[in-house]
């Protein structure tokens, strides 16, 4: 089918870029404002789905050559490792730490161990949503 979707493709490019950046914002903002791993992850998945839908699965696969099954594994691993980290300090599994640092340009910055944990969740959510949808989409029978 050789139909021209110029408008659609152009808008998709812009919109998905905005959505992707918003997703990353939501992820980082999660600790202090609405957002976090789940929401950020779903937003990211939404943006990627938009790309897959408007272009072609095969094309996007070349652009994003990730195996989502592996990403699930990595996400879980990161989350568990941040949990194990606290065992080193004699605290219970999954105890989180935070500290404030003064960084020259950005001013006071908070660093938490909850962030890598949330990153793990983020990765799993993105991968799960996309894995499910792509598996169904690719199922031709």
């Amino acid at each position: 089918m050789k139909t021209n979707f110029l408008m659609f493709h152009t808008i998709t490019r812009i919109v998905s870029f905005i959505v992707l950046s918003f997703s990353i914002y939501l992820f980082f903002a999660g600790h202090n404002a609405p957002g976090g791993g789940f929401i950020g992850g779903l937003m990211m998945a939404g943006a990627l789905i938009l790309l897959y839908v408007s272009f072609d699965i095969d094309k996007i696969k070349k652009v994003i050559p990730f195996d989502y099954t592996t990403i699930i594994g990595w996400g879980l691993l990161i989350a568990i490792l941040t949990g194990l980290n606290s065992l080193l300090f004699g605290d219970a599994f999954l105890t989180q730490y935070f500290e404030y640092y003064q960084v020259p340009i950005m001013g006071e910055v908070e660093l938490t161990t909850a962030l890598p944990f949330d990153l793990g969740i983020y990765m799993v959510v993105v991968a799960v949503a996309l894995l499910t949808i792509l598996s169904i989409a690719e199922d031709v029978s």
């Binding site: 202090n32 404002a33 609405p34 789940f38 959510v125 799960v128 949503a129 499910t132 598996s135 169904i136 029978s141």
Partner: protein, 112 residues
């Protein structure tokens, strides 16, 4: 407002139950989705509605709405998403292999 929402969630759950009892596998999946909607609303309602600011400390409010049910429901939403996806695939794979999604026809043998 709570009483209105309790009735709303009760009706949603009733409809979900009705969908469960139908013959179509797809409708059963719809039932699962509706059931989780109803339960989410119910949990949120029972903790009290609009009793304070959103649970963000940056609001500097005197009272906040209860954050715990929200965290619980957030977890539940995501889980029910995973569940629904799985059920959907299960439903259509069943259809592919058996050629029907009628639960009456999908009955197993009596001896099983």
């Amino acid at each position: 407002m709570e009483i209105l929402m309790i009735f709303t969630s009760g009706i949603i759950i009733a409809v979900a139950t009705y969908l469960f009892l139908t013959r179509s596998l797809l409708r059963v999946v719809f039932g699962v989705v509706m059931l989780s909607h109803g339960v989410h609303l119910l949990i949120l309602t029972l903790s009290g509605l609009q009793t304070g600011a959103p649970p963000l400390l940056t609001e500097n409010a005197d009272a906040y709405t209860d954050p715990l049910p929200q965290a619980v429901i957030l977890t539940a939403i995501v889980i029910s998403f995973g569940m629904t996806a799985f059920l959907l695939v299960l439903a259509y794979r069943t259809y592919q292999d058996h050629g029907t999604d009628d639960l009456e026809e999908l009955r197993g043998n009596a001896d099983e």
